[in-house]
């Protein structure tokens, strides 16, 4: 039986980023098990956005650190990942919203994020074609941005393979062999691997794998839909957010975007016409030039949502099992920093950011959920 220091279940951004930092930490024998192809889960389906405009210390600090890594990765990974700091333009439609977001911006500035509230004139300068009717102002962060998920994964995969990491795709986990507080080996539909440490970063399937190991994670899966247009000449570099609508243009010229259709918890990825109506109406009302642009592809993926909408990272009731899940729709942007944190935890038994200590699974037992700090007062 092959034996590994760390086995990672899940070939998405979290699994690959963690393996990347495990390699950097000097861990030798690493395997990644992916049940389909690399990026077949939520990473490959995501909206490409990377933002620091959050409303809690935990999210803001983690994302600030993540952006530093995104910038580094663009330089040092073997292939371009197309990380672009085009900014996030968060449209505000009333004075109340404006006041609320001023508090968020103050909190973001406190933790070193360069966001600010801007006027309609400035919006016009950043995105000239936006329909400003009914818009009060915007929350703007120029260092937010986007990266191209498939290129990120491809680049990480190339790095990992050249550093001796075994990546088993089209291989699914069947069972585990465990003692009372440790996992000894993992059985797949093709083979069995002995392991010292196990990381479960399997997106929407993390909960069911944890259940198989005898503990629960309080997350729910929600379907979110997304579309991409035909390629156009590059004209839009920020991500525009208007209430639940978001859209940007990828480096390949396509408009990518989605909106929230307030669906119930589900394990079904069926697409709905209702989404297309809501998305197109919202898009065209704020950016009428896109009315004649053609939608090319429509798909869906899961947000794995935790009770306080923050990630669940690190230790579990089993001593050598670790998890990373519950990103609530922010897994891709958080990927680099979460990978670094999880690899550090697995290698050294601790996090290197104080904020990450608030994000462990036992917070739900202790009743220490993350509070929205920016809305106090």
């Amino acid at each position: 039986m092959k034996s590994y220091d760390v086995v990672v279940v899940g070939g998405g951004i979290i699994g690959l980023a963690t393996a990347y930092y495990l390699v950097k930490n000097g861990v030798r024998k690493i395997a990644i098990i992916e049940k389909e192809y690399i990026g077949s889960g939520s990473t490959g389906r995501c909206g490409t956005g990377i933002r620091q405009q959050f409303t809690t210390k935990e999210h803001i600090v983690l994302m600030r650190e993540s952006v530093k890594i995104w910038r580094l990765w663009e330089e040092i990974l073997p292939k371009p990942i197309h990380f672009r700091q085009g900014g996030y333009l968060w449209l505000l439609r009333s004075e109340e919203e404006d006041n609320e977001y001023r508090k968020y911006v103050a909190l973001q500035n406190l933790f070193g994020v360069d966001s600010r509230i801007i006027s309609k004139d400035e919006i016009k300068e950043i995105v000239p074609d936006i329909n400003l009717e009914g818009i009060f102002g915007a929350s703007w962060c120029p260092s937010d941005g986007s990266a191209y998920p498939q290129d990120v994964l491809d680049s990480l995969e190339m790095f990992l393979k050249s550093h001796g990491v075994d990546i088993f795709d089209y291989e699914s986990v069947v069972d585990f062999k465990k003692t009372s507080d440790r996992v000894i080996s993992i059985k797949t539909d093709k083979d069995e691997y002995a392991l010292d440490n196990l990381l479960i970063a399997a997106g929407y399937a993390t909960k069911s794998l944890a259940n198989k190991l005898g503990f629960d994670i309080p997350v729910k899966n929600y379907r979110h839909q997304i579309v991409v247009s035909e390629p156009l000449k590059i004209f839009l570099s920020p991500m525009v957010v208007d209430r639940s609508l978001y859209f940007t243009q990828t480096y390949r010229g396509r408009i990518i975007g989605g909106t929230d259709t307030n669906e119930e918890e589900t394990d079904d990825l069926t697409l709905t016409y209702n989404f297309l109506q809501k998305f197109s109406s919202e898009l065209v009302s704020v950016f009428s030039k896109l009315s004649s642009v053609r939608l090319m592809r429509h798909w869906s993926g899961f947000y794995v949502v935790s009770p306080d909408k923050h990630p669940i990272l690190g230790p579990t009731p089993l001593k050598n099992v670790f998890i990373g899940t519950g990103y609530s729709g922010h897994g891709f942007m958080l990927g680099p920093i979460v990978g670094k944190l999880l690899a550090h935890y697995i290698t050294y038994g601790m996090f290197f950011l104080e904020e990450a200590n608030h994000l462990t699974l036992d917070r739900f037992e202790k009743g220490m959920l993350i509070q929205e700090k920016a809305v106090i007062g």
Partner: protein, 88 residues
């Protein structure tokens, strides 16, 4: 004909030679080739090239790949079409 000059994916300009090279680099299934070469991701969404790619993969590996993901719409549709349509 020189395989360099055979365009398989017309939307993304992917040649026969590039597919063979990628296959030899380890990209052996449709999904990873899509990710690596961007084959089949243009406006036709693979209607022309994916059947050709299936055949090439069969020639190279002896297995005929079946796992193709098909997504709507069947043909590109302007966003404006979906606006203000009354719900039934």
């Amino acid at each position: 004909m020189d395989k360099k000059n055979v365009i398989i994916c017309r939307c993304e300009d992917v040649t026969y030679e590039e597919i063979v090279r990628a296959f030899n680099e380890g990209y052996k299934d449709i999904e990873s080739l899509r990710r690596y070469l961007k084959i089949g991701t243009g406006p036709c969404q693979g209607k022309t090239c994916i059947p050709l790619l299936q055949r090439i993969l069969y020639e190279l590996s002896g297995n005929f790949p079946q796992n193709i993901t098909i997504r709507p719409p069947e043909t590109p549709v302007p966003f404006g079409i979906f606006v203000n349509v009354p719900k039934k």
